[in-house]
Amino acid sequence: MRTRSISSVAAALLAAAGLLYLSGETPSAQGQTRPIPRNADGKPNLQGMWQVVNAASWDLEAHSAEDGIPGGLSVVEGGTIPYLPAAVAKRNENRANRKTADPVGKCFIPGVPRVTYMPWPFQIIQTPKYMVMSYEFAHTQRIIYTDGSPHVDALDFWMGDSRARWEGDTLVVDVKDLNDKTWFDNAGNYHSDQLHVVERYSFIDADHLNYEATIEDAQVFSRPWKISMPIYRRLEPNLQVIEYDCVSYFWQKFIKPPTP
């Protein structure tokens, strides 16, 4: 009867997981370590509102504060980005012109990985075949395929083409087909259209994810390099995406509203 009792325990666990999936919420139990939320299929459930809290969007590397810019530690493994000698000049030029040249300042879609650590929250929506990341900044949207489908060919996208798989409890997102028009940060760190990003999302605990992105671009960097940072769950009840409609603010500078 041992087998049966194990299977009934498993069934109970499965039912509990199913309930969790149905509720779509993280159970709250203050003062206790809550388990990582999981779906009925056992996969971690990443649904919710998330946000990175650091200064990476201004500069991935260690930097002092400046007017309007918070200082911060480096999020780059080893501290500095391994540029090819010939590629540094462009970064320096970008940096010198950052106030006007940063693509994000023109309301352009931020690209991957920068969108992750912009100082705005984002929502993760999860179904068995698709994950959607819905970012407040410029209502940027990513549809991440977890159905084993291959990358599209011969097109470039601002946000690239994202195909993901699970490695144990880690969501591994392979991002290709990125264009060469986005920056990694406001400090002018840049890439070519040969950029290939592999992101890894894994739970630290129920309310924190560890985020890693491996960056590969043989035209600009001497070797692949890695950034990592925590992503924090936004715990406010009923928080939802409140879009930062950058483009409409851009146009408002040129349009006098009519008076009805």
Binding site: L22, H139, K181, Q240, V241, V247, F254
Partner: protein, 323 residues
């Protein structure tokens, strides 16, 4: 390194293709709107949490005029009208093959009021006439040509450059729009709307299922989108002849109730009731077969609207977004 460029929106496409599948044709005479009939009984399969399963890939349904001519008299463009100026008449001549097709039914989508005319307050009529007359001035540009989110219900009107993905998670319906990468997360748990201080271009959506119909209550709008509207009208066309709903503005009092009903496995009938006492003399309702089932391997592609809008921005503001 000559790789194919991102699928971006070029100015020419915006200007000319502002014209929608709904058509700029001054048609709209004739038979009563067929969508006036109550939705056919169809019971879709259920999702794991018991919702009618509306998920999947969807493409725009066939286009029809929004309303009837205000003057009651069809207008024809002058001979030789072409390009943008004649767009509404020449870009999609009858018989053109469009993704959703051009409906043979040329009746107006408005099912209430019975005259199929948008019940605009006098100031809104004046505003609309101004918009149609001065459409190339920055203050009168179609917000969607500026790549502002389309707003609701406009987001659901068929245009050939859009497609949709509907997702369902327990307690939520999520609609992804290809055009301008818009996302709507519609909670079904009866939570209240956002506080009125928070304003969103696409509004704040709260939904529930009434049988097999998804009913969505949308409030908290900004006042800088258009309710409906399609296409750059041809130059010289009297505003009274435009049947696309072009230039129908709204106030922040806009309140929309949407009804999504599958009428067969490949069709969603969409109905929107529009209420805004500052802008309209009474609530009004339109309905159409807005969504047709897409292929299972259909994908939404990134529609980088603003990023590809360089010429339009330059023309309207003098700012070169690529410098």
């Amino acid at each position: 390194m000559a790789r194919t460029k991102t699928r971006v929106l070029l100015l020419a496409t915006v200007a000319v293709a502002g014209l929608a599948v709904t058509g700029g044709s001054a048609a709209g005479q004739g038979t009563p709107a067929k969508s006036d009939a109550p939705p056919k009984a169809y019971s879709p399969p259920k999702t794991a949490d018991g919702q009618p399963d509306i998920s999947g890939m969807w493409e725009p349904g066939p286009g029809r005029p929004m309303e009837k001519e205000r003057g009651g008299k069809p207008w024809q463009p002058p001979a030789g009208a072409s390009g943008q100026n004649g767009a509404a008449y020449t870009f999609f001549p009858p018989g053109t093959q469009l993704p959703g097709g051009r409906s043979a039914d040329r009746s107006a989508m408005i099912v209430d009021p019975a005259d199929s005319i948008i019940p605009l307050q006098p100031w809104a009529v004046t505003r609309r006439d101004e918009i149609i007359e001065k459409q190339d001035k920055v203050e009168y540009l179609d917000p969607r040509v500026r790549c502002i989110q389309s707003g609701v219900p406009r987001a659901n009107l068929p245009v050939f450059y859009n497609s949709y993905q509907f997702l369902q998670t327990p307690g939520h319906v999520i609609i992804l729009y290809e055009w301008n990468h818009m996302t709507r997360d519609i909670p079904l748990d009866g939570r209240p709307h956002l506080p009125p201080q928070i304003r969103l271009a696409n509004g704040d959506s709260r939904g529930h299922w009434e049988g097999n119909t998804l009913v969505v209550d949308v409030t908290n709008f900004t006042d800088d989108t258009w309710v409906v509207g399609h296409g750059a009208p041809p130059e010289g066309a009297p505003a009274s002849a435009i049947t696309t709903g072009h230039g129908v503005v709204h106030s922040d009092q806009l309140h929309v109730v949407e009804r999504f009903t599958m009428t067969d496995k490949d069709t969603i009938r969409y109905e929107a009731r529009i209420e805004d006492p500052k802008t309209f003399t009474r609530p009004w309702t339109f309905a159409l077969e807005a969504f047709k089932r897409g292929k299972p391997d259909h994908q939404l592609f990134e529609y980088a609207c603003h990023e590809g809008n360089r010429s339009n921005v330059l023309l309207s503001t003098g700012v070169d977004i690529e410098k």
